[in-house]
Protein backbone atom coordinates (compact mmCIF):
# COMPACT_ATOMS: atom_id res chain seq x y z
CA UNK A 1 0.00 0.00 0.00
CA UNK A 2 2.71 2.42 0.98
CA UNK A 3 4.86 1.63 -2.08
CA UNK A 4 2.59 2.65 -4.91
CA UNK A 5 5.36 4.43 -6.80
CA UNK A 6 7.42 1.24 -7.16
CA UNK A 7 6.29 -0.99 -10.06
CA UNK A 8 5.42 -4.61 -9.30
CA UNK A 9 8.41 -6.86 -9.94
CA UNK A 10 7.91 -9.66 -12.40
CA UNK A 11 10.19 -12.40 -11.22
CA UNK A 12 10.69 -15.73 -13.01
CA UNK A 13 12.53 -17.48 -10.23
CA UNK A 14 13.63 -16.96 -6.65
CA UNK A 15 17.37 -16.55 -6.29
CA UNK A 16 19.30 -15.88 -3.14
CA UNK A 17 20.64 -13.09 -1.01
CA UNK A 18 24.34 -12.55 -0.72
CA UNK A 19 27.09 -9.98 -1.15
CA UNK A 20 30.41 -9.76 -2.94
CA UNK A 21 33.64 -8.87 -1.21
CA UNK A 22 34.49 -5.20 -1.69
CA UNK A 23 37.39 -3.07 -0.41
CA UNK A 24 34.99 -1.88 2.29
CA UNK A 25 35.26 -5.38 3.82
CA UNK A 26 38.40 -4.15 5.57
CA UNK A 27 36.13 -2.34 8.03
CA UNK A 28 36.35 -5.62 9.94
CA UNK A 29 39.98 -4.85 10.81
CA UNK A 30 38.99 -1.40 12.06
CA UNK A 31 36.23 -2.93 14.19
CA UNK A 32 38.64 -5.49 15.62
CA UNK A 33 41.21 -2.80 16.32
CA UNK A 34 38.64 -0.59 18.04
CA UNK A 35 37.47 -3.46 20.27
CA UNK A 36 41.03 -4.31 21.25
CA UNK A 37 41.87 -0.66 22.00
CA UNK A 38 38.90 -0.38 24.37
CA UNK A 39 40.01 -3.55 26.15
CA UNK A 40 43.57 -2.27 26.36
CA UNK A 41 42.57 1.10 27.82
CA UNK A 42 40.44 -0.46 30.54
CA UNK A 43 42.69 -3.41 31.41
CA UNK A 44 46.22 -2.08 31.25
CA UNK A 45 46.39 -1.05 34.93
CA UNK A 46 45.05 -4.43 36.07
CA UNK A 47 47.51 -6.51 34.08
CA UNK A 48 50.28 -4.16 35.13
CA UNK A 49 49.42 -5.00 38.75
CA UNK A 50 49.45 -8.72 38.07
CA UNK A 51 52.76 -8.41 36.26
CA UNK A 52 54.15 -6.52 39.22
CA UNK A 53 52.99 -9.27 41.59
CA UNK A 54 54.70 -11.90 39.46
CA UNK A 55 58.02 -10.27 38.66
CA UNK A 56 58.31 -7.17 40.85
CA UNK A 57 58.76 -5.15 37.68
CA UNK A 58 56.22 -3.10 35.82
CA UNK A 59 55.81 -2.10 32.21
CA UNK A 60 53.94 1.07 33.19
CA UNK A 61 56.04 3.61 35.06
CA UNK A 62 53.35 4.58 37.60
CA UNK A 63 52.66 1.40 39.52
CA UNK A 64 49.42 0.97 41.39
CA UNK A 65 49.58 -0.98 44.60
CA UNK A 66 49.79 -4.66 43.73
CA UNK A 67 47.68 -6.56 46.24
CA UNK A 68 47.44 -10.33 46.56
CA UNK A 69 43.62 -10.42 46.34
CA UNK A 70 43.74 -9.05 42.80
CA UNK A 71 44.29 -12.64 41.58
CA UNK A 72 40.71 -13.42 42.67
CA UNK A 73 39.36 -10.91 40.14
CA UNK A 74 41.00 -12.71 37.19
CA UNK A 75 38.07 -15.01 36.19
CA UNK A 76 35.63 -12.12 36.43
CA UNK A 77 38.01 -10.02 34.36
CA UNK A 78 38.11 -12.62 31.59
CA UNK A 79 34.31 -12.92 31.39
CA UNK A 80 33.92 -9.17 31.55
CA UNK A 81 36.42 -8.69 28.76
CA UNK A 82 34.54 -11.03 26.45
CA UNK A 83 31.31 -9.04 26.96
CA UNK A 84 33.12 -5.70 26.78
CA UNK A 85 34.81 -6.65 23.51
CA UNK A 86 31.55 -7.74 21.91
CA UNK A 87 29.49 -4.78 23.10
CA UNK A 88 32.06 -2.14 22.20
CA UNK A 89 32.30 -3.50 18.66
CA UNK A 90 28.51 -3.75 18.39
CA UNK A 91 28.02 -0.13 19.49
CA UNK A 92 30.87 1.13 17.29
CA UNK A 93 29.51 -0.54 14.17
CA UNK A 94 25.99 0.66 15.01
CA UNK A 95 27.43 4.16 14.82
CA UNK A 96 29.06 3.42 11.47
CA UNK A 97 25.75 1.99 10.25
CA UNK A 98 23.92 5.20 11.22
CA UNK A 99 26.47 7.28 9.30
CA UNK A 100 26.07 5.07 6.22
CA UNK A 101 22.29 5.46 6.46
CA UNK A 102 22.70 9.25 6.59
CA UNK A 103 24.99 9.23 3.54
CA UNK A 104 22.66 7.11 1.46
CA UNK A 105 19.25 6.30 2.99
CA UNK A 106 18.09 2.75 2.12
CA UNK A 107 15.61 2.54 -0.75
CA UNK A 108 13.40 -0.16 -2.19
CA UNK A 109 13.60 -1.03 -5.87
CA UNK A 110 15.75 -2.66 -8.54
CA UNK A 111 19.37 -1.57 -8.74
CA UNK A 112 22.15 -2.33 -11.17
CA UNK A 113 25.58 -3.54 -10.17
CA UNK A 114 27.93 -0.67 -9.47
CA UNK A 115 25.21 1.86 -8.70
CA UNK A 116 25.28 3.87 -5.48
CA UNK A 117 22.55 1.82 -3.81
CA UNK A 118 24.32 -1.42 -4.69
CA UNK A 119 27.53 -0.14 -3.12
CA UNK A 120 25.85 1.06 0.04
CA UNK A 121 23.89 -2.17 0.62
CA UNK A 122 27.23 -4.00 0.46
CA UNK A 123 28.76 -1.55 2.88
CA UNK A 124 25.89 -1.96 5.32
CA UNK A 125 26.26 -5.72 5.14
CA UNK A 126 29.96 -5.71 5.88
CA UNK A 127 29.53 -3.41 8.87
CA UNK A 128 27.03 -5.85 10.38
CA UNK A 129 28.94 -9.02 9.56
CA UNK A 130 31.30 -9.04 12.53
CA UNK A 131 28.92 -7.85 15.31
CA UNK A 132 26.37 -10.51 14.35
CA UNK A 133 29.10 -13.15 14.34
CA UNK A 134 30.14 -12.02 17.82
CA UNK A 135 26.56 -11.97 19.07
CA UNK A 136 26.01 -15.50 17.80
CA UNK A 137 29.26 -16.63 19.41
CA UNK A 138 28.28 -15.26 22.85
CA UNK A 139 26.43 -17.61 25.18
CA UNK A 140 23.54 -15.17 25.71
CA UNK A 141 20.49 -16.25 23.69
CA UNK A 142 18.77 -12.88 23.43
CA UNK A 143 21.74 -10.91 22.26
CA UNK A 144 21.35 -11.31 18.50
CA UNK A 145 17.82 -9.88 18.71
CA UNK A 146 19.23 -6.80 20.45
CA UNK A 147 21.88 -6.46 17.76
CA UNK A 148 19.29 -6.77 15.00
CA UNK A 149 17.23 -4.04 16.67
CA UNK A 150 20.29 -1.78 16.73
CA UNK A 151 20.77 -2.27 12.99
CA UNK A 152 17.41 -1.31 11.60
CA UNK A 153 15.48 -4.58 11.83
CA UNK A 154 12.26 -3.93 13.70
CA UNK A 155 11.70 -6.80 16.09
CA UNK A 156 8.88 -6.74 18.65
CA UNK A 157 8.57 -8.12 22.17
CA UNK A 158 9.06 -11.79 23.01
CA UNK A 159 10.23 -12.81 19.56
CA UNK A 160 11.99 -16.13 19.07
CA UNK A 161 14.62 -15.62 16.38
CA UNK A 162 17.10 -18.13 17.62
CA UNK A 163 18.78 -19.46 14.55
CA UNK A 164 18.34 -18.36 10.99
CA UNK A 165 19.38 -15.77 8.52
CA UNK A 166 17.67 -12.37 8.67
CA UNK A 167 18.57 -9.56 6.29
CA UNK A 168 19.62 -6.46 8.24
CA UNK A 169 17.34 -3.93 6.54
CA UNK A 170 13.67 -3.66 5.58
CA UNK A 171 12.46 -6.43 7.87
CA UNK A 172 9.65 -6.04 10.37
CA UNK A 173 8.71 -8.73 12.87
CA UNK A 174 5.76 -8.27 15.24
CA UNK A 175 5.28 -9.22 18.89
CA UNK A 176 5.20 -12.88 20.02
CA UNK A 177 6.28 -14.25 16.63
CA UNK A 178 8.23 -17.49 16.51
CA UNK A 179 10.77 -18.44 13.86
CA UNK A 180 12.23 -21.93 13.66
CA UNK A 181 15.56 -23.37 12.65
CA UNK A 182 17.19 -22.90 9.25
CA UNK A 183 14.95 -20.08 8.06
CA UNK A 184 15.96 -17.38 5.62
CA UNK A 185 14.21 -14.03 5.67
CA UNK A 186 15.42 -12.18 2.56
CA UNK A 187 14.66 -8.55 1.92
CA UNK A 188 16.95 -8.53 -1.11
CA UNK A 189 17.66 -10.93 -3.95
CA UNK A 190 20.51 -10.93 -6.45
CA UNK A 191 20.07 -11.66 -10.15
CA UNK A 192 23.63 -11.74 -11.58
CA UNK A 193 24.10 -7.98 -12.08
CA UNK A 194 20.92 -6.71 -10.42
CA UNK A 195 19.58 -6.63 -6.91
CA UNK A 196 15.97 -6.33 -5.85
CA UNK A 197 15.16 -4.81 -2.49
CA UNK A 198 11.69 -4.89 -0.97
CA UNK A 199 10.26 -4.80 2.50
CA UNK A 200 9.22 -7.92 4.41
CA UNK A 201 6.50 -7.66 7.01
CA UNK A 202 5.73 -10.36 9.53
CA UNK A 203 2.79 -9.65 11.82
CA UNK A 204 2.04 -10.47 15.44
CA UNK A 205 1.82 -14.05 16.77
CA UNK A 206 2.98 -15.63 13.50
CA UNK A 207 4.82 -18.91 13.25
CA UNK A 208 7.47 -19.42 10.57
CA UNK A 209 8.22 -23.11 10.12
CA UNK A 210 11.66 -24.67 9.75
CA UNK A 211 13.58 -24.71 6.43
CA UNK A 212 11.48 -21.92 4.91
CA UNK A 213 12.44 -18.99 2.72
CA UNK A 214 10.61 -15.67 2.93
CA UNK A 215 11.20 -13.66 -0.24
CA UNK A 216 11.17 -9.85 -0.41
CA UNK A 217 7.78 -8.21 -0.53
CA UNK A 218 5.95 -10.92 1.40
CA UNK A 219 3.45 -9.85 4.03
CA UNK A 220 2.39 -12.24 6.77
CA UNK A 221 -0.77 -10.99 8.49
CA UNK A 222 -1.31 -11.41 12.22
CA UNK A 223 -1.56 -15.06 13.24
CA UNK A 224 -0.50 -16.56 9.92
CA UNK A 225 1.45 -19.81 9.98
CA UNK A 226 3.98 -20.73 7.29
CA UNK A 227 4.42 -24.50 7.15
CA UNK A 228 7.71 -26.33 7.19
CA UNK A 229 9.82 -26.65 4.04
CA UNK A 230 7.83 -24.12 2.00
CA UNK A 231 8.79 -20.79 0.49
CA UNK A 232 6.96 -17.65 -0.56
CA UNK A 233 7.10 -15.90 -3.92
CA UNK A 234 7.97 -12.22 -4.26
CA UNK A 235 5.09 -9.93 -3.24
CA UNK A 236 3.00 -12.75 -1.81
CA UNK A 237 0.32 -11.89 0.70
CA UNK A 238 -0.45 -14.51 3.35
CA UNK A 239 -3.78 -14.07 5.16
CA UNK A 240 -4.01 -14.21 8.91
CA UNK A 241 -5.11 -17.14 11.13
CA UNK A 242 -4.48 -19.75 8.44
CA UNK A 243 -1.80 -22.34 7.72
CA UNK A 244 0.06 -21.77 4.46
CA UNK A 245 1.96 -24.59 2.77
CA UNK A 246 3.59 -25.14 -0.62
CA UNK A 247 6.64 -24.52 -2.79
CA UNK A 248 5.85 -21.71 -3.49
CA UNK A 249 2.94 -21.22 -1.08
CA UNK A 250 -0.27 -22.33 -2.78
CA UNK A 251 -2.42 -24.18 -0.22
CA UNK A 252 -4.14 -22.93 2.89
CA UNK A 253 -5.61 -24.88 5.78
CA UNK A 254 -7.71 -23.73 8.72
CA UNK A 255 -6.12 -23.84 12.16
CA UNK A 256 -7.70 -26.60 14.24
CA UNK A 257 -7.56 -27.21 17.93
CA UNK A 258 -5.60 -30.25 19.06
CA UNK A 259 -8.73 -32.08 20.24
CA UNK A 260 -10.45 -31.51 16.93
CA UNK A 261 -7.57 -32.86 14.87
CA UNK A 262 -7.20 -35.80 17.26
CA UNK A 263 -10.87 -36.70 16.78
CA UNK A 264 -10.45 -36.55 13.02
CA UNK A 265 -7.41 -38.79 13.15
CA UNK A 266 -9.21 -41.32 15.35
CA UNK A 267 -12.17 -41.39 12.97
CA UNK A 268 -9.92 -42.01 9.95
CA UNK A 269 -8.00 -44.73 11.77
CA UNK A 270 -11.16 -46.47 12.99
CA UNK A 271 -12.75 -46.66 9.56
CA UNK A 272 -9.63 -47.97 7.92
CA UNK A 273 -9.21 -50.73 10.50
CA UNK A 274 -12.87 -51.74 10.22
CA UNK A 275 -12.54 -51.97 6.45
CA UNK A 276 -9.44 -54.13 6.77
CA UNK A 277 -11.17 -56.50 9.18
CA UNK A 278 -14.15 -56.74 6.82
CA UNK A 279 -11.92 -57.50 3.87
CA UNK A 280 -10.07 -60.22 5.74
CA UNK A 281 -13.33 -61.83 6.92
CA UNK A 282 -14.70 -61.86 3.42
CA UNK A 283 -11.48 -63.38 2.13
CA UNK A 284 -10.45 -60.44 0.03
CA UNK A 285 -6.77 -59.79 0.22
CA UNK A 286 -5.83 -56.45 -1.21
Amino acid sequence: MQNTDIPQFKVDYISTSGVYKTPFTFILIIQLYFGCLVLLALNLWYYNDLYFLLTHESFLSNVLVGQFWEWILLPMNIYGNILLFAFSIILFSAGVFKILNKLCPPKEGVFLRGSKEWKYTHRRFWTIYFPIWLARALPLPWIDIIVYRLFGVRIGKNVVAYEGYIDPQFVEIGHFTMTSLHICIFSHLIYQDKIIIKKVKIGKTCIVGPQTIISPGTILEDGAILGANSYTWVDQHLKGDLIHVGTPVSMTFPIQSIEESQQKADRVKGTSIENDVKNIKEGKND
Binding site: D12, V19, I128, A137, Y165, H182, I190, I213, Y231
Partner: protein, 246 residues
Protein backbone atom coordinates in the same frame (compact mmCIF):
# COMPACT_ATOMS: atom_id res chain seq x y z
CA UNK B 1 27.82 -13.34 5.27
CA UNK B 2 26.85 -13.80 8.86
CA UNK B 3 25.36 -17.22 9.01
CA UNK B 4 23.71 -19.08 11.87
CA UNK B 5 25.63 -21.75 13.69
CA UNK B 6 23.92 -24.52 11.76
CA UNK B 7 25.25 -23.14 8.48
CA UNK B 8 28.75 -22.63 9.82
CA UNK B 9 29.71 -26.27 9.42
CA UNK B 10 32.23 -27.67 7.01
CA UNK B 11 31.21 -29.32 3.77
CA UNK B 12 29.29 -32.58 4.01
CA UNK B 13 31.81 -35.32 4.54
CA UNK B 14 30.25 -38.21 6.43
CA UNK B 15 32.75 -40.76 7.67
CA UNK B 16 31.91 -44.43 8.09
CA UNK B 17 31.29 -45.32 11.73
CA UNK B 18 33.24 -48.54 11.78
CA UNK B 19 36.15 -46.60 10.42
CA UNK B 20 36.16 -43.43 12.50
CA UNK B 21 37.99 -44.63 15.60
CA UNK B 22 40.53 -46.70 13.72
CA UNK B 23 41.99 -43.79 11.76
CA UNK B 24 41.43 -41.04 14.31
CA UNK B 25 45.19 -40.69 14.69
CA UNK B 26 45.39 -39.16 11.19
CA UNK B 27 42.98 -36.41 12.26
CA UNK B 28 44.81 -35.79 15.53
CA UNK B 29 48.22 -35.65 13.83
CA UNK B 30 47.03 -32.87 11.49
CA UNK B 31 45.61 -30.88 14.41
CA UNK B 32 48.84 -31.29 16.38
CA UNK B 33 51.10 -30.35 13.47
CA UNK B 34 49.02 -27.32 12.48
CA UNK B 35 49.46 -25.74 15.91
CA UNK B 36 53.28 -25.83 15.72
CA UNK B 37 53.69 -22.81 13.35
CA UNK B 38 51.24 -20.86 15.54
CA UNK B 39 53.32 -21.59 18.63
CA UNK B 40 56.53 -20.54 16.87
CA UNK B 41 54.83 -17.32 15.73
CA UNK B 42 53.56 -16.48 19.23
CA UNK B 43 56.91 -17.29 20.82
CA UNK B 44 58.79 -15.03 18.44
CA UNK B 45 56.20 -12.26 18.87
CA UNK B 46 56.58 -12.27 22.65
CA UNK B 47 60.36 -12.59 22.72
CA UNK B 48 60.83 -9.84 20.14
CA UNK B 49 58.44 -7.27 21.55
CA UNK B 50 58.28 -7.91 25.31
CA UNK B 51 61.25 -5.65 26.11
CA UNK B 52 61.78 -2.28 27.73
CA UNK B 53 60.38 0.49 25.59
CA UNK B 54 58.38 -1.88 23.34
CA UNK B 55 55.48 -2.56 25.73
CA UNK B 56 53.11 -0.13 24.06
CA UNK B 57 53.85 -1.55 20.60
CA UNK B 58 53.29 -5.05 22.00
CA UNK B 59 49.78 -4.11 23.09
CA UNK B 60 48.92 -2.05 20.02
CA UNK B 61 49.82 -4.89 17.65
CA UNK B 62 47.67 -7.49 19.46
CA UNK B 63 44.68 -7.16 17.04
CA UNK B 64 46.95 -7.97 14.10
CA UNK B 65 48.43 -10.78 16.11
CA UNK B 66 44.95 -12.32 16.47
CA UNK B 67 44.25 -11.83 12.77
CA UNK B 68 47.51 -13.45 11.70
CA UNK B 69 47.16 -16.27 14.22
CA UNK B 70 43.75 -17.33 12.95
CA UNK B 71 44.84 -17.31 9.33
CA UNK B 72 48.14 -19.00 10.14
CA UNK B 73 46.33 -21.87 11.85
CA UNK B 74 44.13 -22.24 8.80
CA UNK B 75 47.05 -22.15 6.36
CA UNK B 76 49.12 -24.67 8.29
CA UNK B 77 46.08 -26.96 8.58
CA UNK B 78 45.72 -26.81 4.80
CA UNK B 79 49.45 -27.43 4.29
CA UNK B 80 49.63 -30.60 6.39
CA UNK B 81 46.33 -32.02 5.13
CA UNK B 82 47.39 -31.48 1.51
CA UNK B 83 50.70 -33.21 2.28
CA UNK B 84 48.92 -36.26 3.67
CA UNK B 85 46.38 -36.15 0.82
CA UNK B 86 49.10 -36.35 -1.82
CA UNK B 87 50.61 -39.36 -0.04
CA UNK B 88 47.16 -41.02 0.08
CA UNK B 89 46.63 -40.32 -3.61
CA UNK B 90 49.93 -42.03 -4.40
CA UNK B 91 48.51 -45.22 -2.85
CA UNK B 92 45.17 -44.94 -4.60
CA UNK B 93 44.00 -42.29 -7.07
CA UNK B 94 40.34 -41.20 -6.78
CA UNK B 95 38.14 -42.41 -9.66
CA UNK B 96 34.53 -41.69 -10.60
CA UNK B 97 32.01 -44.51 -10.72
CA UNK B 98 29.56 -46.66 -8.80
CA UNK B 99 31.08 -48.84 -6.08
CA UNK B 100 29.84 -51.04 -3.27
CA UNK B 101 29.57 -49.40 0.12
CA UNK B 102 31.90 -51.66 1.96
CA UNK B 103 35.24 -50.94 3.63
CA UNK B 104 36.76 -53.83 1.67
CA UNK B 105 36.21 -51.75 -1.46
CA UNK B 106 39.29 -49.61 -1.96
CA UNK B 107 37.33 -46.70 -3.44
CA UNK B 108 35.07 -46.38 -0.42
CA UNK B 109 37.93 -46.88 2.04
CA UNK B 110 40.08 -44.18 0.49
CA UNK B 111 37.13 -41.80 0.12
CA UNK B 112 36.64 -42.07 3.89
CA UNK B 113 40.34 -41.56 4.48
CA UNK B 114 40.36 -38.44 2.34
CA UNK B 115 37.37 -37.07 4.24
CA UNK B 116 39.02 -37.61 7.61
CA UNK B 117 42.12 -35.78 6.36
CA UNK B 118 40.14 -32.83 4.95
CA UNK B 119 37.97 -32.34 8.02
CA UNK B 120 40.19 -30.11 10.15
CA UNK B 121 41.10 -27.45 7.49
CA UNK B 122 37.47 -27.27 6.38
CA UNK B 123 36.34 -26.84 9.98
CA UNK B 124 38.86 -24.08 10.72
CA UNK B 125 37.92 -22.15 7.60
CA UNK B 126 34.20 -22.52 8.32
CA UNK B 127 34.52 -21.21 11.88
CA UNK B 128 36.80 -18.33 10.91
CA UNK B 129 35.12 -15.04 11.94
CA UNK B 130 36.63 -13.10 9.02
CA UNK B 131 35.34 -13.30 5.46
CA UNK B 132 38.74 -13.79 3.85
CA UNK B 133 40.26 -17.14 2.88
CA UNK B 134 37.02 -19.01 3.50
CA UNK B 135 35.48 -22.13 2.01
CA UNK B 136 36.48 -21.50 -1.59
CA UNK B 137 40.14 -20.82 -0.76
CA UNK B 138 40.49 -24.17 1.02
CA UNK B 139 38.59 -26.13 -1.63
CA UNK B 140 40.94 -24.90 -4.34
CA UNK B 141 43.82 -26.67 -2.56
CA UNK B 142 41.90 -29.94 -2.69
CA UNK B 143 41.58 -29.78 -6.47
CA UNK B 144 38.14 -28.19 -6.74
CA UNK B 145 38.15 -25.61 -9.52
CA UNK B 146 36.21 -22.51 -8.52
CA UNK B 147 36.24 -19.44 -10.76
CA UNK B 148 36.64 -15.84 -9.75
CA UNK B 149 33.99 -13.27 -8.87
CA UNK B 150 31.57 -15.71 -7.32
CA UNK B 151 29.52 -15.99 -4.17
CA UNK B 152 29.81 -19.40 -2.57
CA UNK B 153 31.01 -18.86 0.97
CA UNK B 154 27.92 -19.92 2.85
CA UNK B 155 27.05 -23.07 0.99
CA UNK B 156 28.22 -26.64 1.36
CA UNK B 157 30.40 -27.80 -1.51
CA UNK B 158 31.88 -31.30 -1.74
CA UNK B 159 35.64 -31.25 -1.64
CA UNK B 160 36.35 -33.24 -4.80
CA UNK B 161 34.92 -33.83 -8.30
CA UNK B 162 33.41 -30.35 -8.54
CA UNK B 163 34.07 -27.77 -11.28
CA UNK B 164 32.62 -24.30 -10.83
CA UNK B 165 33.04 -21.58 -13.46
CA UNK B 166 33.44 -17.83 -13.30
CA UNK B 167 30.88 -15.42 -11.86
CA UNK B 168 28.72 -18.17 -10.35
CA UNK B 169 26.34 -17.38 -7.51
CA UNK B 170 25.63 -20.28 -5.18
CA UNK B 171 22.87 -19.51 -2.73
CA UNK B 172 22.73 -19.56 1.02
CA UNK B 173 22.58 -23.04 2.51
CA UNK B 174 22.58 -24.91 -0.78
CA UNK B 175 24.62 -28.09 -1.17
CA UNK B 176 26.65 -29.49 -4.05
CA UNK B 177 27.04 -33.23 -3.51
CA UNK B 178 29.46 -35.09 -5.75
CA UNK B 179 28.85 -38.31 -3.84
CA UNK B 180 25.78 -40.34 -3.05
CA UNK B 181 25.08 -43.25 -0.74
CA UNK B 182 22.23 -45.54 -1.66
CA UNK B 183 21.65 -48.72 0.35
CA UNK B 184 24.84 -50.68 -0.26
CA UNK B 185 26.04 -48.64 -3.23
CA UNK B 186 28.33 -45.67 -3.26
CA UNK B 187 28.35 -43.18 -6.13
CA UNK B 188 31.09 -40.71 -7.06
CA UNK B 189 30.34 -38.47 -10.02
CA UNK B 190 31.58 -35.11 -11.18
CA UNK B 191 29.47 -31.95 -10.95
CA UNK B 192 30.16 -29.37 -13.66
CA UNK B 193 28.84 -25.84 -13.31
CA UNK B 194 29.62 -23.44 -16.15
CA UNK B 195 30.04 -19.64 -16.12
CA UNK B 196 27.31 -17.19 -15.07
CA UNK B 197 25.11 -19.84 -13.44
CA UNK B 198 22.82 -18.87 -10.58
CA UNK B 199 21.82 -21.42 -7.95
CA UNK B 200 19.20 -20.24 -5.47
CA UNK B 201 19.04 -20.62 -1.72
CA UNK B 202 18.66 -24.08 -0.17
CA UNK B 203 19.12 -25.98 -3.46
CA UNK B 204 20.58 -29.46 -3.65
CA UNK B 205 22.69 -30.42 -6.67
CA UNK B 206 23.07 -34.19 -6.93
CA UNK B 207 26.14 -36.03 -8.32
CA UNK B 208 26.65 -36.02 -12.08
CA UNK B 209 24.64 -32.90 -12.86
CA UNK B 210 25.94 -30.62 -15.55
CA UNK B 211 24.62 -27.05 -15.41
CA UNK B 212 25.25 -25.18 -18.65
CA UNK B 213 26.03 -21.49 -19.05
CA UNK B 214 23.58 -18.92 -17.70
CA UNK B 215 21.15 -21.55 -16.43
CA UNK B 216 19.19 -20.64 -13.33
CA UNK B 217 18.05 -23.00 -10.60
CA UNK B 218 15.28 -21.52 -8.48
CA UNK B 219 15.42 -21.61 -4.70
CA UNK B 220 14.47 -24.70 -2.69
CA UNK B 221 14.68 -27.16 -5.63
CA UNK B 222 16.90 -30.13 -6.31
CA UNK B 223 18.28 -31.86 -9.39
CA UNK B 224 18.31 -35.57 -10.26
CA UNK B 225 21.45 -37.65 -10.60
CA UNK B 226 23.04 -37.14 -14.07
CA UNK B 227 20.73 -34.21 -14.88
CA UNK B 228 21.72 -31.78 -17.62
CA UNK B 229 20.35 -28.26 -17.26
CA UNK B 230 20.12 -26.44 -20.61
CA UNK B 231 21.78 -23.16 -21.47
CA UNK B 232 20.09 -19.88 -20.54
CA UNK B 233 16.98 -21.47 -19.01
CA UNK B 234 15.14 -21.55 -15.70
CA UNK B 235 14.57 -24.68 -13.62
CA UNK B 236 12.08 -24.99 -10.77
CA UNK B 237 10.68 -27.80 -8.67
CA UNK B 238 11.23 -31.07 -6.85
CA UNK B 239 13.05 -32.39 -8.88
CA UNK B 240 13.89 -29.38 -11.04
CA UNK B 241 12.00 -29.11 -14.32
CA UNK B 242 12.36 -26.66 -17.19
CA UNK B 243 10.11 -23.63 -16.85
CA UNK B 244 8.53 -22.80 -20.19
CA UNK B 245 7.76 -19.26 -21.24
CA UNK B 246 4.12 -18.38 -21.57
Amino acid sequence: MFQPASLKGDSPTPIDEGFRNKYLFLYLIIIFLSFIPCIIFEYSYITLLWNDGFFLIFFLLIPFNILILIHLLQLSAILFSVLILTILNLFYNPVEGVFSRNLDDKNYLFWNLRNIVKKWPLFTSASNPFPWLKNRFVLRFFGVKIGKKGICDNSWISSEFVNVGKNVIIGMGSTLLSFGIEQDKFILKKIIIDDDVLIGAKCIVMPGTHINQKAKLSAHSYTNIDDILLEDSIYIGHPAKLKKDK
